[in-house]
Amino acid sequence: MSLVPLAPIGDARERVVDDRTFAEQRAALAVLEERLHARRREVHAGWGQKQVDRVHAKGKLTARERLEALKDSGTPHYEVGTFVNYGETFEGGVTSPAAGVVTAIARVEGRLVMVIANDNTVASGAWWPRTPEKIQRAQEMALRLRLPVIYLVDCSGLFLPEQSRAFPGKRGAGHIFKMNSLLSASGVPQIAGVCGDCIAGGGYMPIISDRVYMTEQAYMVIAGKALIKGAKAQKMTSLDIGGPDVHVHLSGCADERVPDDEAMLSAIRLEVARLPSSGADFYRGGIGALDPLYPAEELAGLLPVDHREAYDAKQVLARLCDQSLFWELMPELGEEMICGVGRIGGLYAGFVINRQGLVGDPERPGNRRAGGALYRAGIAKISAFSRACDSDGLPLIWLQDISGFDIGAEAERQGLLAYGSNLIYTNSTNTTPMFTVLLRKASGAGYYAMAGLPYDPVVQLSTCVSRQSVMEGRTAAIATYNAKLDDDFRIVAKDDAERQAVVEGMARVEQRLEQDMDPFQAARRLDTDEIVPVAELRAWLATLVEASYQGTGYRRIKNPRIWSMHDLQDLVGQVR
């Protein structure tokens, strides 16, 4: 193993912030994270106990009970898309908790898999507007990381009153089956357990899977009994039309029949056990996952809730990386950005984070300027680093807290547009898995340049204080009403009523943008994949990095002896 010069990073908590500051910051975040937990519980309850009882009365398990029974006992799972459709009501005034489908990365027989389980406590697992997108997003994550996919199908079909919003578009329900096909074409194992209704679109989903199990309660049909009665005046039960008798024994559309949910889940576990084991341990090179020297839980008191307040970004890295060891690349250049390599869960990953507070200005020695922004040297640095991660096959973690690119005459003269575009080009064409965390601000083109969701990170996580926006509310209000303001942003109009209208209009814009920046709004619209408590970030990232190293043979993973990273280190003037 070549020398990867990991060095201690970070300081003990009491040397970073005093007790009072730590307590205040943790308390402020706790209020928001308690709301997160409460909302999670609300979503997990689906349509309530009555629906749970109804499912149990049929001798079936709920989607979340199935997930619990499927995964290795005692292991955590990582749910994505929890808040899709959160707070939104549909035709008839109904809600669709989690968009009626549970998508989660879980551990089964030691392997990480993507589980996609229709929530049978929400309108019998119907597909709502955005349910297809949510399922496709999970399929995309699985495709990118070659994670086996397990479908637990219990779906009554599209929620018909809203069919126009889930059926025809590019990401309409049918695209799920295209994703099934692409997963299959890329050699990603898919296993379907049909454990209830599986009507129309739902019927296609399992068929492309490599192995299909059906319980005695399950049926798969192109059209259900009501449609058949209407179209052909035939009275049949759903099981007669497409139950296991038909599909396991006559049509061959399913492989095995099992008595119930429990038996089906055991059978699927056995199937997963027959798949190749994870490559992660091989790539760990005999080194296990080691906790950071400074506990990850301390992040909850180190991240100020007020996005205008600075903190020490190195302390964040120290609480994410194993043993708080980190190899910082090019520290002498563009200090507004910190990039380097660390282990997480025993596996190497690249990290990029924005430094907050004041940083040096290379054009004016002795002067300081604000961090949390992109300047020329910093852009060039992370662009080269990003490409080196791609070249070396290092999963790349972007930790965003960015107010945007530097602006002004100097920024334009220096050609920041071009430097930024180069970074965007690099990230757009990288094939190494990238993961993005929006620690706080994710503003303007900075959100794009640091691999925000439009740049296809495999997963993007938000915290309770993430803010995605083109600009802050006040700035946007000024931009919107620019024509009515003078050069000093004062209202031009002399007439009182007219002035009042501008004042109120600006206040409305500002308030509207502030609301839209709520991470739950983003999560509702699939503009971020999940909202997580900051103390859980390390566990999430360790799992995602492990998932990146699980499959072998599909992507470049260089051993550290031949990393391009070493070249970068030498080229920036270190004596060798």
Binding site: A7, V17, T21, E24, E309, E332, G360, G366, A370, Q569
Partner: protein, 207 residues
């Protein structure tokens, strides 16, 4: 602060070298850590307190070395000078430089001392702002102030909020010339007033 290097980083790791007096009365500057020493001063150079004395590379991390507050003199010996390598391996406590006291050096030292004294106003201990910006005495409106007159503060404690370019920075008490703990005698600026770099924030007395 000028340290003779062109680096503009403000977040550079730094270490102060240790000073020992040899049997012959000469001052020896000793390495504060293990590593590869680069950018060493040459023989005949003059060292004054706070001066940059090259960099120490330890496991790829480069740390700036500074002369301690009491070191002044002419460099008469440099560790590893004969081999003339760009990076010289040093161990903890190795003699990096040997200094000889000279008149020229003592003049420079006096200037350096004057500069240091200028930071203390009439002998009172002071804590100054490292940057320009708007000063706030409390973390947020309605919250208790960070410090009040009579409070005993210790190194690392947040004592003020400084707004620079729309970002808020908590200023932590500390600094080479200041004691680990001190009592606040006076809070100098008015709340929400604008400060220039080096303006005095707190007047202190030793605890």
């Amino acid at each position: 602060m000028s340290d003779g290097s062109t680096a503009t980083r403000v977040t550079r790791p730094e270490l102060t070298v240790k000073l020992a007096i040899r049997g012959d009365g000469k001052a020896v500057l000793e390495s504060p850590s293990v590593g590869l020493w680069r950018g060493a001063p040459e023989e005949g150079a003059v060292v004054v307190p706070g001066q940059a004395l090259g960099e120490l590379e330890t496991l790829g991390v480069i740390t700036l070395l500074r002369a301690p507050a009491t070191a002044t003199g002419l460099v008469i010996e440099v560790h590893g000078a004969r081999e003339g390598r760009a990076r010289r391996p040093v161990q903890y406590g190795d003699a990096l430089l040997v200094l000889e006291w000279t008149d020229a050096a003592s003049e420079l030292a006096a200037t350096a001392q004057e500069r240091a004294d200028a930071r203390r106003e009439s002998g009172v201990l002071v804590f100054c702002t490292p940057s320009s910006g708007r000063y706030y005495s409390r973390p947020a409106p309605g919250k208790a102030p960070f410090v009040e007159v009579g409070d005993v503060i210790s190194a690392g404690q947040a004592v003020a909020l400084l707004e620079v370019m729309k970002t808020f920075n908590r200023l932590q008490y500390g600094g080479d010339a200041l004691p680990e703990r001190a009592r606040v005698k006076r809070i100098v600026p008015a709340d929400a007033s604008d400060l220039a770099p080096g303006d005095v924030l707190l007047e202190l007395e030793p605890e």
